[in-house]
């Protein structure tokens, strides 16, 4: 099934039901469907065709939901971009996927303009929400697009077309576009709503960015279910979020460990304050066992799902909540209609207790990285059957005797901070671009709220301060990638063979915190 059918089917069932709640407005399924249809007609009018890429560079606003479904209704492929992305990286993404259109917000227009400056090639339709002065010359008004007659764009697309290109931090330092077909998303979302026992009367509150697949799927799954999504921009004010949850009678709350740590810091919270809450989910990084116990105490009526996944297949595993007491540190079993197993260096399954690489098989596995066959071949490899490819996750796992999976560590240097993956090389490349920097090494150090905090050790030839290096990073990187710790040194720690040692640097940086 194509993903925009999630919306039209739910609209057919209950057009007047609330689909989306944001601080600015509430949209029924009928309104969301109508707006997406109008935007699709407008996009088609501006030359967007089947399989074209469309960037959605917005924060968690209702316009972003309309943009995602509008793009799909036009037969095109959407790519959600984190709103804190800076011009340099956005320019890389534009060059990489050559979008036919960019949908954005007034406050982000300067970043888009800088990214597009001096660029040749195919013209990009730039569509923006209106600021206090409307939209500038050369920019198409988002609200004007919604005035179009909503019509079904006859794009001829089928469900093996690409629905989404979602960029992920690559270990080489350049972001990689994960290609997902409609069928991939259909399979992944069907599997997830099955084990979460999702219902049309669910009310899900999400503060996770729509550019992060965990956040994006909250929208896709709630629309699929005909449920309601309460979309918030940030978890910065947990008390305000809890007030909204009480008011909207929220039944589902997706978490990352950073949010759990913030909730558990609030002394005024007591058990039973969110009586409607049916379930909590956690992914992106493991919750400390103590936090699991405290969350269950705080939300006694809610099931807690520990999950694990990566963008390349959306989700890999979940722990059935009834297993939480027996194996609180396990991320569980493969999600429904998929397989997950641990293999040795030759791809052979290993017995319980032996560590190896986690491999994923199923209809949710991506099609590869956009225009990057080398990186694709490194992770998608020949499977058991001649017609399939398996996903090698790069994560080291083991199983217990009953087949439950345990995360052991990463095979590479990827840092997980605030639930997002960061390749140290991407941060190092930015630091290196600052004049006066000779060498830099970036690593993650343990942090009680962030999971890992990004830390950099830098050698300079001229007088640079820690602050200047952080400021440079803040100008060129998404906010979650900016180092929290910068240490200036005369030289970087090296191994006996003279190679810069990330591990030794991590040791020194941890001590510096």
């Amino acid at each position: 099934m194509r993903v925009e059918r999630f919306l039209s089917k739910s609209t057919g069932r209950s057009p007047g039901k609330t689909a989306l709640v944001t601080a600015e407005r509430r949209l029924s399924f009928g309104e969301l469907d109508g707006m997406a249809g109008a935007l699709a007609a407008a996009l088609a009018g501006y030359g967007v065709r089947r399989d074209d890429r469309v960037l959605v560079f917005m924060d968690n606003c209702w316009e972003a939901a309309v943009s995602i479904f509008g793009t799909l209704k036009a037969g095109a492929t959407f790519s959600p971009i984190n709103p804190s992305t800076k011009a340099g990286k956005l320019a890389y993404i534009v060059d990489n996927c050559e979008p036919a259109a960019i949908l954005t917000q007034a406050r982000l227009l300067p970043v888009v303009r800088e990214a597009l400056a001096g660029r040749g090639g195919r013209p990009v339709a730039l569509i923006s929400t209106e600021g206090s002065d409307g939209v500038p010359d050369g920019v198409i008004s988002f609200s004007a697009c919604l005035q179009e007659e909503a019509e079904c764009v006859g794009h001829g697309g089928i469900d093996s077309d690409l629905a989404m290109l979602i960029y992920t931090s690559g270990s080489t330092g350049q972001p990689k576009g994960v290609m997902m077909t409609h069928r991939n998303i259909d399979a992944a979302s069907d599997s997830i709503v099955t084990y979460l026992e999702g219902r049309s009367d669910d009310i899900i509150l999400s503060v996770l960015p729509l550019a992060f697949d965990y956040g994006l799927y909250q929208l896709l799954m709630s629309v699929r279910l005909g449920a309601t999504l309460v979309l918030e921009k940030s978890f910065a004010f947990p008390q305000a979020i809890f007030e909204t949850m009480r008011r909207e009678r929220v039944t589902g709350l997706p978490l990352v460990p950073t949010m759990a740590a913030m909730i558990l810091r609030l002394p005024s919270l007591g058990p039973g304050m969110l009586p409607d809450l049916r379930y909590l989910t956690n992914t992106a990084a493991a919750l400390p066992t103590e936090h699991i116990a405290r969350l269950r105490n705080l939300f006694p009526g809610a099931k807690l799902y520990s999950m694990y996944g990566l963008t390349e297949c959306k989700r890999c595993t979940y722990l059935p909540p009834e297993e939480l007491d027996r194996r609180p540190d396990s991320v569980g079993i493969a999600i429904p209609n998929t397989e997950a197993f641990v293999v040795d260096g030759e791809g052979r399954p290993v017995p319980p207790g032996v560590t190896g690489e986690l491999v994923i098989r199923g209809p949710h596995v991506m099609q590869g990285y956009w225009r990057n066959p080398q990186a694709t071949d490194a992770v998608l490899r020949a499977g058991r059957k001649p017609w399939e490819r398996l996903l090698y996750t790069g994560d080291v796992f083991r199983t217990d005797e009953e087949g439950y999976l345990y995360f052991v560590g990463r095979k590479d240097d990827i840092i997980k901070t605030r639930g997002e993956k960061v390749a140290p090389k991407e941060v190092e490349a930015v630091i290196h671009s600052l004049p006066g920097v000779m060498e830099a090494v970036v690593t993650g150090v343990p942090d009680p709220v962030l999971g890992q905090a990004i830390a950099a050790m830098v050698v300079c030839s001229t007088e640079l301060t820690e602050r200047e290096i952080m400021a440079h990073c803040a100008r060129h990187l998404e906010e979650f990638m900016v180092p929290k710790i910068v240490m200036l040194r005369d030289e970087l720690p090296r191994t006996d063979t003279g190679k810069v040692s990330r591990r030794l640097a991590a040791g020194a940086l941890e001590g510096a915190e």
């Binding site: 804190s84 406050r107 910065a236 008390q239 949010m259 005024s268 602050r467 400021a471």
Partner: protein
């Protein structure tokens, strides 16, 4: 007093969130979250700064946008709390 509080807040934000670059400073009424100035951990830093600088403790029930999501809101919130702190 109000203006002095706002000056202190602006200086803190430039120093802590904008890495010394005043050009990124939002207007006094602008949402700090909406403008992308602070995130979840930024709010915790902001709370620690206010407690330290103005000498009162912020209850977690007071960590809400009405009190903390713009320079004007924070200055008013500080103004409401300083007399209490002085009396205590």
């Amino acid at each position: 007093m109000f203006e002095m509080t706002k000056q202190a807040l602006r200086a803190f934000m430039v120093e802590s969130f904008l890495f010394g670059e005043e050009t990124g400073l939002p207007s006094d009424t602008e949402s700090l979250i909406g403008a992308g100035i602070i995130d979840s951990t930024g709010v915790l830093e902001l709370v620690a700064f206010i407690e330290d600088r103005f000498g009162f403790t912020i209850a977690d029930t007071d960590i809400v946008p009405d009190n903390l999501d713009s320079i004007d809101n924070i200055a008013a919130f500080v103004g409401r709390n300083i007399p209490n702190a002085a009396a205590a």
